[in-house]
Protein backbone atom coordinates (compact mmCIF):
# COMPACT_ATOMS: atom_id res chain seq x y z
CA UNK A 1 0.00 0.00 0.00
CA UNK A 2 2.65 2.46 1.00
CA UNK A 3 4.47 1.68 -2.19
CA UNK A 4 1.48 2.56 -4.31
CA UNK A 5 0.58 6.22 -3.73
CA UNK A 6 -1.39 6.26 -6.99
CA UNK A 7 -3.72 3.62 -5.69
CA UNK A 8 -4.13 5.38 -2.38
CA UNK A 9 -4.84 8.74 -4.00
CA UNK A 10 -7.27 7.17 -6.47
CA UNK A 11 -9.06 5.22 -3.78
CA UNK A 12 -9.30 8.32 -1.62
CA UNK A 13 -10.87 10.38 -4.41
CA UNK A 14 -13.30 7.63 -5.33
CA UNK A 15 -13.98 7.30 -1.63
CA UNK A 16 -14.96 10.95 -1.45
CA UNK A 17 -17.45 10.53 -4.27
CA UNK A 18 -18.90 7.36 -2.77
CA UNK A 19 -19.14 9.06 0.60
CA UNK A 20 -21.02 12.01 -0.93
CA UNK A 21 -23.44 9.62 -2.60
CA UNK A 22 -24.01 7.67 0.61
CA UNK A 23 -24.51 10.78 2.69
CA UNK A 24 -27.02 12.11 0.17
CA UNK A 25 -29.21 9.07 0.74
CA UNK A 26 -29.83 9.97 4.35
CA UNK A 27 -29.17 13.67 4.50
CA UNK A 28 -28.89 16.82 2.44
CA UNK A 29 -28.71 20.24 4.05
CA UNK A 30 -31.59 21.47 1.92
CA UNK A 31 -34.01 19.75 -0.42
CA UNK A 32 -31.90 19.59 -3.56
CA UNK A 33 -34.67 20.58 -5.96
CA UNK A 34 -36.37 23.26 -3.89
CA UNK A 35 -36.37 26.65 -5.56
CA UNK A 36 -36.24 29.71 -3.37
CA UNK A 37 -35.86 33.46 -3.66
CA UNK A 38 -32.36 33.21 -2.19
CA UNK A 39 -30.77 33.17 -5.59
CA UNK A 40 -27.07 33.28 -6.40
CA UNK A 41 -25.78 33.34 -2.87
CA UNK A 42 -22.06 33.08 -2.48
CA UNK A 43 -20.71 30.21 -0.36
CA UNK A 44 -21.49 30.84 3.28
CA UNK A 45 -22.68 29.26 6.44
CA UNK A 46 -26.29 28.76 5.39
CA UNK A 47 -25.38 27.44 2.00
CA UNK A 48 -21.95 25.83 2.13
CA UNK A 49 -21.34 26.21 -1.60
CA UNK A 50 -23.86 28.95 -2.19
CA UNK A 51 -27.06 28.75 -4.23
CA UNK A 52 -27.73 28.61 -7.94
CA UNK A 53 -29.90 30.72 -10.21
CA UNK A 54 -33.06 29.09 -8.86
CA UNK A 55 -32.01 29.51 -5.26
CA UNK A 56 -31.31 25.80 -4.98
CA UNK A 57 -28.58 24.77 -2.56
CA UNK A 58 -25.48 23.81 -4.55
CA UNK A 59 -24.02 21.59 -1.85
CA UNK A 60 -27.20 19.51 -1.71
CA UNK A 61 -27.16 19.19 -5.47
CA UNK A 62 -23.52 18.17 -5.47
CA UNK A 63 -24.35 15.49 -2.91
CA UNK A 64 -27.20 14.09 -4.96
CA UNK A 65 -25.15 14.51 -8.13
CA UNK A 66 -22.63 12.02 -6.77
CA UNK A 67 -25.38 9.44 -7.00
CA UNK A 68 -26.03 10.00 -10.70
CA UNK A 69 -22.32 10.07 -11.30
CA UNK A 70 -21.80 6.68 -9.70
CA UNK A 71 -24.97 5.29 -11.21
CA UNK A 72 -23.92 6.22 -14.72
CA UNK A 73 -20.50 4.67 -14.18
CA UNK A 74 -21.79 1.49 -12.61
CA UNK A 75 -24.43 0.85 -15.23
CA UNK A 76 -22.20 1.75 -18.16
CA UNK A 77 -19.32 -0.35 -16.88
CA UNK A 78 -21.63 -3.25 -16.08
CA UNK A 79 -23.07 -3.22 -19.58
CA UNK A 80 -19.63 -2.89 -21.12
CA UNK A 81 -18.06 -5.60 -19.02
CA UNK A 82 -20.93 -8.05 -19.03
CA UNK A 83 -21.20 -7.99 -22.80
CA UNK A 84 -17.64 -7.12 -23.74
CA UNK A 85 -15.70 -9.60 -21.63
CA UNK A 86 -17.54 -12.75 -22.75
CA UNK A 87 -17.34 -11.46 -26.30
CA UNK A 88 -13.59 -11.06 -26.07
CA UNK A 89 -13.07 -14.37 -24.31
CA UNK A 90 -15.15 -16.31 -26.80
CA UNK A 91 -13.49 -14.53 -29.71
CA UNK A 92 -10.11 -15.55 -28.34
CA UNK A 93 -11.02 -19.14 -27.56
CA UNK A 94 -12.96 -19.82 -30.71
CA UNK A 95 -10.70 -19.06 -33.61
CA UNK A 96 -13.31 -20.25 -36.06
CA UNK A 97 -16.19 -18.47 -37.70
CA UNK A 98 -17.90 -17.53 -34.44
CA UNK A 99 -14.83 -15.87 -33.02
CA UNK A 100 -14.19 -13.92 -36.16
CA UNK A 101 -17.79 -12.80 -36.47
CA UNK A 102 -17.79 -11.64 -32.85
CA UNK A 103 -14.60 -9.69 -33.29
CA UNK A 104 -15.89 -8.10 -36.46
CA UNK A 105 -19.08 -7.12 -34.68
CA UNK A 106 -17.04 -5.56 -31.94
CA UNK A 107 -14.94 -3.68 -34.47
CA UNK A 108 -18.04 -2.29 -36.16
CA UNK A 109 -19.39 -1.26 -32.80
CA UNK A 110 -16.09 0.44 -32.25
CA UNK A 111 -16.84 2.70 -35.16
CA UNK A 112 -19.76 4.14 -33.17
CA UNK A 113 -18.14 6.19 -30.46
CA UNK A 114 -20.07 6.85 -27.27
CA UNK A 115 -21.17 10.31 -28.16
CA UNK A 116 -22.45 9.40 -31.59
CA UNK A 117 -24.31 6.44 -30.19
CA UNK A 118 -25.76 8.51 -27.39
CA UNK A 119 -26.91 11.17 -29.80
CA UNK A 120 -28.60 8.55 -31.93
CA UNK A 121 -30.14 6.75 -28.98
CA UNK A 122 -31.25 9.94 -27.33
CA UNK A 123 -32.68 11.03 -30.64
CA UNK A 124 -34.39 7.67 -30.96
CA UNK A 125 -36.11 8.21 -27.63
CA UNK A 126 -36.58 11.87 -28.43
CA UNK A 127 -35.55 12.96 -25.00
CA UNK A 128 -32.42 12.97 -22.95
CA UNK A 129 -32.47 10.55 -20.11
CA UNK A 130 -29.95 9.11 -17.75
CA UNK A 131 -30.89 5.62 -18.83
CA UNK A 132 -30.29 6.38 -22.49
CA UNK A 133 -26.99 7.99 -21.72
CA UNK A 134 -25.89 5.09 -19.57
CA UNK A 135 -26.92 2.54 -22.17
CA UNK A 136 -25.13 4.38 -24.95
CA UNK A 137 -21.97 4.81 -22.94
CA UNK A 138 -22.16 1.20 -21.85
CA UNK A 139 -22.64 -0.15 -25.34
CA UNK A 140 -19.85 1.93 -26.73
CA UNK A 141 -17.47 0.65 -24.09
CA UNK A 142 -18.12 -2.95 -25.11
CA UNK A 143 -15.39 -3.00 -27.78
CA UNK A 144 -12.78 -1.76 -25.33
CA UNK A 145 -13.65 -4.52 -22.89
CA UNK A 146 -13.78 -7.05 -25.71
CA UNK A 147 -10.37 -6.09 -27.01
CA UNK A 148 -8.76 -6.09 -23.62
CA UNK A 149 -10.39 -9.38 -22.69
CA UNK A 150 -9.42 -10.94 -25.97
CA UNK A 151 -5.82 -9.88 -25.69
CA UNK A 152 -5.57 -11.07 -22.12
CA UNK A 153 -7.29 -14.34 -22.96
CA UNK A 154 -4.94 -14.99 -25.84
CA UNK A 155 -2.09 -14.41 -23.48
CA UNK A 156 -3.50 -16.79 -20.91
CA UNK A 157 -4.19 -19.36 -23.60
CA UNK A 158 -0.57 -19.25 -24.67
CA UNK A 159 0.51 -20.29 -21.20
CA UNK A 160 1.60 -23.81 -20.63
CA UNK A 161 -0.80 -24.36 -17.77
CA UNK A 162 -3.61 -24.24 -20.27
CA UNK A 163 -1.84 -26.88 -22.34
CA UNK A 164 -1.33 -28.93 -19.20
CA UNK A 165 -5.02 -28.67 -18.40
CA UNK A 166 -5.94 -29.70 -21.91
CA UNK A 167 -3.50 -32.57 -21.73
CA UNK A 168 -5.38 -33.78 -18.66
CA UNK A 169 -8.64 -33.71 -20.54
CA UNK A 170 -10.14 -30.60 -19.00
CA UNK A 171 -12.93 -29.16 -21.17
CA UNK A 172 -12.52 -25.83 -22.86
CA UNK A 173 -15.43 -24.31 -21.00
CA UNK A 174 -13.92 -25.43 -17.72
CA UNK A 175 -10.59 -23.96 -18.77
CA UNK A 176 -12.31 -20.71 -19.60
CA UNK A 177 -13.95 -20.52 -16.21
CA UNK A 178 -11.15 -21.95 -14.10
CA UNK A 179 -8.07 -20.50 -15.74
CA UNK A 180 -9.00 -17.73 -18.13
CA UNK A 181 -11.50 -15.69 -16.16
CA UNK A 182 -9.49 -15.41 -12.93
CA UNK A 183 -6.37 -14.54 -14.85
CA UNK A 184 -7.90 -11.86 -17.02
CA UNK A 185 -9.73 -10.33 -14.08
CA UNK A 186 -6.97 -7.82 -13.27
CA UNK A 187 -7.05 -6.41 -16.78
CA UNK A 188 -10.81 -6.25 -16.72
CA UNK A 189 -10.81 -4.51 -13.36
CA UNK A 190 -8.32 -1.95 -14.59
CA UNK A 191 -10.33 -1.41 -17.75
CA UNK A 192 -13.47 -1.06 -15.68
CA UNK A 193 -11.87 1.64 -13.62
CA UNK A 194 -10.76 3.58 -16.68
CA UNK A 195 -14.13 3.09 -18.37
CA UNK A 196 -15.78 4.38 -15.24
CA UNK A 197 -13.93 7.65 -15.54
CA UNK A 198 -14.74 7.83 -19.23
CA UNK A 199 -18.41 7.19 -18.54
CA UNK A 200 -18.53 10.09 -16.10
CA UNK A 201 -16.93 12.38 -18.67
CA UNK A 202 -19.24 11.17 -21.41
CA UNK A 203 -22.29 11.74 -19.26
CA UNK A 204 -21.11 15.26 -18.54
CA UNK A 205 -20.66 15.95 -22.24
CA UNK A 206 -24.09 14.53 -23.01
CA UNK A 207 -25.66 16.66 -20.33
CA UNK A 208 -23.91 19.61 -21.85
CA UNK A 209 -25.47 18.78 -25.21
CA UNK A 210 -28.83 18.40 -23.50
CA UNK A 211 -28.95 14.67 -24.13
CA UNK A 212 -28.07 13.45 -20.67
CA UNK A 213 -29.77 13.63 -17.34
CA UNK A 214 -33.18 15.34 -17.39
CA UNK A 215 -33.59 18.75 -15.73
CA UNK A 216 -35.04 17.88 -12.36
CA UNK A 217 -32.41 15.28 -11.41
CA UNK A 218 -29.31 16.99 -10.10
CA UNK A 219 -26.27 15.82 -12.04
CA UNK A 220 -22.86 17.44 -12.15
CA UNK A 221 -22.77 17.70 -15.93
CA UNK A 222 -26.20 19.24 -15.98
CA UNK A 223 -25.24 21.67 -13.24
CA UNK A 224 -22.38 23.01 -15.32
CA UNK A 225 -24.71 23.26 -18.27
CA UNK A 226 -27.19 25.25 -16.23
CA UNK A 227 -24.43 27.41 -14.78
CA UNK A 228 -23.42 28.68 -18.19
CA UNK A 229 -25.53 31.84 -18.33
CA UNK A 230 -24.01 32.86 -14.99
CA UNK A 231 -20.50 32.17 -16.17
CA UNK A 232 -19.61 35.86 -16.27
CA UNK A 233 -20.82 36.79 -12.84
CA UNK A 234 -21.23 33.71 -10.67
CA UNK A 235 -18.47 31.27 -11.50
CA UNK A 236 -19.32 29.58 -8.23
CA UNK A 237 -22.16 27.72 -9.93
CA UNK A 238 -19.89 25.92 -12.36
CA UNK A 239 -16.83 25.45 -10.20
CA UNK A 240 -18.27 23.01 -7.69
CA UNK A 241 -19.70 20.46 -10.09
CA UNK A 242 -16.61 20.90 -12.28
CA UNK A 243 -14.36 20.21 -9.33
CA UNK A 244 -16.22 17.07 -8.39
CA UNK A 245 -16.29 15.74 -11.93
CA UNK A 246 -12.54 16.19 -12.01
CA UNK A 247 -12.14 14.47 -8.64
CA UNK A 248 -14.28 11.53 -9.71
CA UNK A 249 -12.60 11.02 -13.06
CA UNK A 250 -9.13 11.55 -11.69
CA UNK A 251 -9.96 9.20 -8.85
CA UNK A 252 -11.05 6.40 -11.13
CA UNK A 253 -8.13 6.90 -13.49
CA UNK A 254 -5.64 6.84 -10.65
CA UNK A 255 -7.40 3.86 -9.15
CA UNK A 256 -7.04 2.09 -12.47
CA UNK A 257 -3.34 2.89 -12.68
CA UNK A 258 -2.83 1.89 -9.08
CA UNK A 259 -4.67 -1.38 -9.55
CA UNK A 260 -2.63 -2.11 -12.60
CA UNK A 261 0.56 -1.68 -10.63
CA UNK A 262 -0.85 -3.69 -7.78
CA UNK A 263 -2.33 -6.56 -9.74
CA UNK A 264 0.23 -6.91 -12.41
CA UNK A 265 3.05 -4.55 -13.15
CA UNK A 266 3.53 -6.05 -16.59
CA UNK A 267 0.02 -5.25 -17.79
CA UNK A 268 -0.08 -3.15 -20.89
CA UNK A 269 -1.97 0.12 -21.08
CA UNK A 270 -5.66 -0.43 -21.32
CA UNK A 271 -7.85 0.68 -24.16
CA UNK A 272 -9.40 4.08 -23.93
Amino acid sequence: MRRNPTLVAGAAMVGIVVALALVSVVWTPWPATQVSPDRLWPPGSAHLMGTDGFGQDIFSRVLIGARSCLLVGVVAVTIGALLGVPLGVVAAIDRGVLGRVLMRASDILYAFPALLLAILLAAARGQGSTLTAMTAIGISSIPAFARVARGATLQVLSQDYVLAARASGIRRTTIAVRHVLPNILPVVVVQASVSFGLAILAEASLSYLGLGTPPTTPSWGRMIFEAQPYMYSDLNLAIWPGLFIAIAVLGFNLLGDGLRDLLDPTLREVER
Binding site: D160, A164, S168, R178
Partner: protein, 264 residues
Protein backbone atom coordinates in the same frame (compact mmCIF):
# COMPACT_ATOMS: atom_id res chain seq x y z
CA UNK B 1 10.90 -56.59 -24.71
CA UNK B 2 8.36 -58.23 -26.89
CA UNK B 3 5.43 -56.06 -25.84
CA UNK B 4 3.54 -54.05 -28.42
CA UNK B 5 4.63 -50.43 -28.76
CA UNK B 6 2.76 -47.94 -26.58
CA UNK B 7 3.10 -45.31 -29.33
CA UNK B 8 3.30 -46.02 -33.04
CA UNK B 9 4.07 -42.97 -35.11
CA UNK B 10 3.75 -43.26 -38.85
CA UNK B 11 4.79 -40.78 -41.48
CA UNK B 12 3.84 -37.84 -39.30
CA UNK B 13 3.79 -34.40 -40.93
CA UNK B 14 2.90 -31.04 -39.48
CA UNK B 15 2.72 -27.85 -41.51
CA UNK B 16 2.33 -24.41 -40.12
CA UNK B 17 1.11 -21.54 -42.20
CA UNK B 18 3.00 -18.38 -41.67
CA UNK B 19 1.59 -15.61 -43.78
CA UNK B 20 1.61 -17.13 -47.21
CA UNK B 21 4.54 -19.42 -46.50
CA UNK B 22 4.37 -22.92 -45.13
CA UNK B 23 6.74 -24.17 -42.48
CA UNK B 24 7.27 -27.88 -42.21
CA UNK B 25 7.66 -28.29 -38.48
CA UNK B 26 7.56 -32.09 -38.47
CA UNK B 27 8.59 -33.85 -41.65
CA UNK B 28 7.63 -37.50 -42.21
CA UNK B 29 8.57 -38.79 -38.80
CA UNK B 30 8.30 -42.54 -38.06
CA UNK B 31 9.08 -44.35 -34.83
CA UNK B 32 7.75 -46.67 -32.16
CA UNK B 33 7.88 -46.16 -28.45
CA UNK B 34 7.97 -49.25 -26.27
CA UNK B 35 6.48 -49.41 -22.78
CA UNK B 36 9.11 -48.54 -20.22
CA UNK B 37 11.37 -46.99 -22.81
CA UNK B 38 13.04 -43.70 -22.00
CA UNK B 39 13.34 -41.79 -25.23
CA UNK B 40 15.26 -38.56 -25.55
CA UNK B 41 14.37 -36.20 -28.37
CA UNK B 42 17.14 -33.74 -29.15
CA UNK B 43 17.58 -31.05 -31.74
CA UNK B 44 18.20 -27.40 -32.11
CA UNK B 45 15.68 -24.72 -31.50
CA UNK B 46 12.90 -24.89 -34.06
CA UNK B 47 13.66 -28.44 -35.08
CA UNK B 48 10.11 -29.52 -34.28
CA UNK B 49 10.55 -31.21 -30.92
CA UNK B 50 7.70 -29.49 -29.18
CA UNK B 51 5.46 -29.84 -32.19
CA UNK B 52 6.07 -33.55 -32.26
CA UNK B 53 5.32 -34.19 -28.60
CA UNK B 54 2.29 -31.96 -28.63
CA UNK B 55 0.84 -34.09 -31.38
CA UNK B 56 1.62 -37.15 -29.31
CA UNK B 57 -0.39 -35.66 -26.48
CA UNK B 58 -3.23 -34.81 -28.90
CA UNK B 59 -2.83 -31.10 -28.20
CA UNK B 60 -2.27 -30.36 -31.83
CA UNK B 61 -3.52 -32.13 -34.94
CA UNK B 62 -1.10 -33.62 -37.47
CA UNK B 63 -1.35 -32.39 -41.04
CA UNK B 64 -0.95 -35.97 -42.19
CA UNK B 65 0.25 -39.29 -40.89
CA UNK B 66 -0.90 -41.27 -37.94
CA UNK B 67 -0.26 -41.65 -34.24
CA UNK B 68 -1.51 -44.73 -32.45
CA UNK B 69 -1.57 -44.86 -28.68
CA UNK B 70 -1.83 -48.38 -27.27
CA UNK B 71 -2.96 -49.65 -30.65
CA UNK B 72 -5.69 -47.09 -31.44
CA UNK B 73 -5.23 -44.04 -33.57
CA UNK B 74 -5.63 -40.75 -31.77
CA UNK B 75 -5.70 -38.64 -34.89
CA UNK B 76 -8.96 -36.88 -35.64
CA UNK B 77 -10.63 -37.98 -32.42
CA UNK B 78 -12.83 -35.68 -30.43
CA UNK B 79 -11.81 -34.87 -26.90
CA UNK B 80 -14.41 -37.31 -25.58
CA UNK B 81 -12.88 -40.19 -27.51
CA UNK B 82 -9.42 -39.59 -26.06
CA UNK B 83 -10.11 -40.79 -22.53
CA UNK B 84 -7.49 -43.53 -22.70
CA UNK B 85 -4.79 -41.13 -23.84
CA UNK B 86 -5.73 -38.49 -21.33
CA UNK B 87 -5.53 -41.01 -18.50
CA UNK B 88 -2.30 -42.49 -19.66
CA UNK B 89 -0.19 -39.55 -20.80
CA UNK B 90 0.88 -36.48 -18.87
CA UNK B 91 3.19 -33.61 -19.73
CA UNK B 92 5.73 -31.40 -17.99
CA UNK B 93 6.61 -28.13 -19.66
CA UNK B 94 9.67 -25.99 -19.95
CA UNK B 95 8.93 -22.79 -18.13
CA UNK B 96 7.86 -23.38 -14.55
CA UNK B 97 6.51 -19.84 -14.48
CA UNK B 98 4.01 -20.20 -17.25
CA UNK B 99 3.08 -23.81 -16.66
CA UNK B 100 1.48 -23.14 -13.29
CA UNK B 101 -1.65 -21.03 -13.02
CA UNK B 102 -0.59 -18.17 -10.74
CA UNK B 103 -4.06 -17.87 -9.28
CA UNK B 104 -4.49 -21.45 -8.14
CA UNK B 105 -3.06 -23.02 -5.03
CA UNK B 106 -0.47 -25.70 -5.45
CA UNK B 107 -2.95 -28.26 -4.17
CA UNK B 108 -5.51 -27.27 -6.81
CA UNK B 109 -2.88 -27.32 -9.50
CA UNK B 110 -1.66 -30.77 -8.66
CA UNK B 111 -5.10 -32.31 -8.36
CA UNK B 112 -6.50 -30.58 -11.43
CA UNK B 113 -5.96 -33.61 -13.72
CA UNK B 114 -7.96 -35.73 -11.29
CA UNK B 115 -10.85 -33.34 -11.52
CA UNK B 116 -11.13 -33.71 -15.25
CA UNK B 117 -13.97 -35.65 -16.76
CA UNK B 118 -11.71 -38.60 -17.62
CA UNK B 119 -11.44 -39.36 -13.92
CA UNK B 120 -15.07 -39.35 -12.94
CA UNK B 121 -14.99 -41.78 -10.05
CA UNK B 122 -12.44 -39.98 -7.90
CA UNK B 123 -13.74 -38.48 -4.70
CA UNK B 124 -12.50 -35.49 -2.86
CA UNK B 125 -10.85 -37.58 -0.16
CA UNK B 126 -9.14 -39.75 -2.77
CA UNK B 127 -7.75 -36.61 -4.28
CA UNK B 128 -6.52 -35.25 -0.99
CA UNK B 129 -4.76 -38.52 -0.25
CA UNK B 130 -3.18 -38.60 -3.67
CA UNK B 131 -2.04 -35.00 -3.24
CA UNK B 132 -0.11 -35.81 -0.10
CA UNK B 133 1.33 -38.84 -1.78
CA UNK B 134 2.67 -37.12 -4.89
CA UNK B 135 3.92 -34.07 -3.07
CA UNK B 136 5.96 -36.29 -0.83
CA UNK B 137 7.20 -38.22 -3.84
CA UNK B 138 8.59 -35.15 -5.50
CA UNK B 139 10.08 -33.85 -2.27
CA UNK B 140 7.60 -31.10 -1.45
CA UNK B 141 6.09 -30.55 1.94
CA UNK B 142 2.35 -31.44 1.72
CA UNK B 143 1.76 -28.60 4.13
CA UNK B 144 2.63 -26.20 1.33
CA UNK B 145 -0.42 -27.29 -0.69
CA UNK B 146 -2.31 -24.14 0.14
CA UNK B 147 0.43 -21.84 -1.06
CA UNK B 148 0.61 -20.19 -4.48
CA UNK B 149 3.24 -20.93 -7.15
CA UNK B 150 4.98 -17.59 -6.88
CA UNK B 151 5.96 -18.43 -3.34
CA UNK B 152 8.26 -21.20 -4.61
CA UNK B 153 11.66 -21.21 -6.22
CA UNK B 154 12.17 -22.28 -9.80
CA UNK B 155 13.26 -25.78 -8.94
CA UNK B 156 10.36 -26.26 -6.59
CA UNK B 157 7.94 -25.03 -9.18
CA UNK B 158 9.21 -27.63 -11.56
CA UNK B 159 8.62 -30.21 -8.87
CA UNK B 160 5.04 -28.99 -8.62
CA UNK B 161 4.66 -29.43 -12.35
CA UNK B 162 6.04 -32.94 -12.08
CA UNK B 163 3.72 -33.72 -9.18
CA UNK B 164 0.78 -32.60 -11.27
CA UNK B 165 1.86 -34.90 -14.07
CA UNK B 166 2.26 -37.83 -11.70
CA UNK B 167 -1.04 -37.33 -9.87
CA UNK B 168 -3.19 -39.38 -12.25
CA UNK B 169 -0.56 -42.19 -12.33
CA UNK B 170 0.19 -41.90 -16.03
CA UNK B 171 1.99 -44.61 -17.98
CA UNK B 172 3.75 -42.12 -20.18
CA UNK B 173 5.42 -38.91 -19.02
CA UNK B 174 6.34 -36.36 -21.67
CA UNK B 175 8.81 -33.76 -20.46
CA UNK B 176 9.26 -30.91 -22.93
CA UNK B 177 12.52 -29.20 -22.00
CA UNK B 178 11.63 -29.77 -18.38
CA UNK B 179 15.02 -28.65 -17.10
CA UNK B 180 16.12 -26.10 -19.69
CA UNK B 181 14.94 -23.05 -17.80
CA UNK B 182 16.54 -24.08 -14.56
CA UNK B 183 19.82 -22.97 -13.13
CA UNK B 184 22.59 -25.54 -13.40
CA UNK B 185 22.57 -25.91 -9.66
CA UNK B 186 18.89 -26.83 -9.59
CA UNK B 187 18.87 -28.76 -12.82
CA UNK B 188 20.72 -31.70 -11.35
CA UNK B 189 18.13 -32.06 -8.59
CA UNK B 190 15.24 -32.16 -10.99
CA UNK B 191 17.04 -34.56 -13.30
CA UNK B 192 17.70 -36.87 -10.40
CA UNK B 193 14.08 -36.66 -9.39
CA UNK B 194 12.82 -37.53 -12.85
CA UNK B 195 15.30 -40.39 -13.10
CA UNK B 196 14.19 -41.77 -9.76
CA UNK B 197 10.49 -41.49 -10.44
CA UNK B 198 10.75 -43.08 -13.84
CA UNK B 199 12.68 -45.97 -12.41
CA UNK B 200 10.40 -46.38 -9.44
CA UNK B 201 7.11 -46.46 -11.34
CA UNK B 202 8.34 -47.95 -14.56
CA UNK B 203 7.15 -44.94 -16.53
CA UNK B 204 7.61 -44.58 -20.22
CA UNK B 205 9.47 -41.32 -20.66
CA UNK B 206 9.68 -38.95 -23.58
CA UNK B 207 12.31 -36.42 -22.68
CA UNK B 208 12.75 -33.45 -24.95
CA UNK B 209 15.89 -31.39 -24.70
CA UNK B 210 18.36 -29.47 -26.75
CA UNK B 211 21.11 -30.50 -24.35
CA UNK B 212 22.72 -33.78 -25.37
CA UNK B 213 24.56 -34.35 -22.12
CA UNK B 214 21.32 -34.12 -20.18
CA UNK B 215 19.56 -36.56 -22.45
CA UNK B 216 22.37 -39.01 -22.11
CA UNK B 217 21.78 -39.05 -18.43
CA UNK B 218 18.15 -40.00 -18.29
CA UNK B 219 17.40 -41.74 -21.56
CA UNK B 220 18.10 -45.11 -23.01
CA UNK B 221 17.31 -44.13 -26.58
CA UNK B 222 17.81 -40.92 -28.52
CA UNK B 223 16.06 -39.45 -31.51
CA UNK B 224 17.84 -36.57 -33.17
CA UNK B 225 15.67 -34.11 -35.05
CA UNK B 226 16.77 -31.54 -37.55
CA UNK B 227 14.34 -29.30 -39.39
CA UNK B 228 11.53 -31.66 -38.52
CA UNK B 229 13.29 -34.78 -39.82
CA UNK B 230 14.71 -37.68 -37.83
CA UNK B 231 18.41 -37.76 -38.64
CA UNK B 232 19.38 -40.38 -36.10
CA UNK B 233 17.52 -42.79 -33.80
CA UNK B 234 19.15 -45.39 -31.61
CA UNK B 235 20.25 -46.45 -28.14
CA UNK B 236 21.82 -43.59 -26.26
CA UNK B 237 25.26 -45.00 -25.82
CA UNK B 238 25.51 -46.03 -29.43
CA UNK B 239 24.54 -42.56 -30.62
CA UNK B 240 26.98 -40.91 -28.27
CA UNK B 241 29.90 -43.15 -28.84
CA UNK B 242 29.43 -43.72 -32.52
CA UNK B 243 27.18 -41.14 -34.10
CA UNK B 244 26.24 -42.09 -37.64
CA UNK B 245 25.01 -38.76 -38.88
CA UNK B 246 27.40 -35.86 -39.42
CA UNK B 247 24.88 -33.51 -37.85
CA UNK B 248 24.80 -35.58 -34.68
CA UNK B 249 28.56 -35.53 -34.64
CA UNK B 250 28.59 -31.76 -34.94
CA UNK B 251 26.06 -31.48 -32.20
CA UNK B 252 28.15 -33.60 -29.89
CA UNK B 253 31.32 -31.76 -30.70
CA UNK B 254 29.77 -28.42 -29.92
CA UNK B 255 28.95 -29.25 -26.32
CA UNK B 256 31.24 -27.12 -24.19
CA UNK B 257 33.34 -29.09 -21.81
CA UNK B 258 34.93 -28.10 -18.58
CA UNK B 259 38.59 -27.38 -19.15
CA UNK B 260 40.57 -28.14 -16.03
CA UNK B 261 43.92 -27.83 -17.70
CA UNK B 262 44.16 -24.08 -17.95
CA UNK B 263 47.59 -22.60 -17.76
CA UNK B 264 47.41 -19.03 -16.60
Amino acid sequence: MTATPIYEIRDLVKLYRRGSQEVVAVDHVDFDLMPGERLGIVGESGSGKSTLVRMMAALSRPTSGDIAFEGTSIVGRTDDELTGLRRGVQMVFQDPRSSLDPRMTVGDIITEPLRSRVWKGITRTDRAARLVEVMTQVGLDPQDASRYPHQFSGGQRQRIAIARALAPKPRVLIADEAVSALDVSVRAQVLNLIGDLVAEYGLTLVFVSHDLTVVRHVCDAVLVLRSGRVVEHGPTEQVYVDPQNPYTRQLLASVPRLRRDVNP
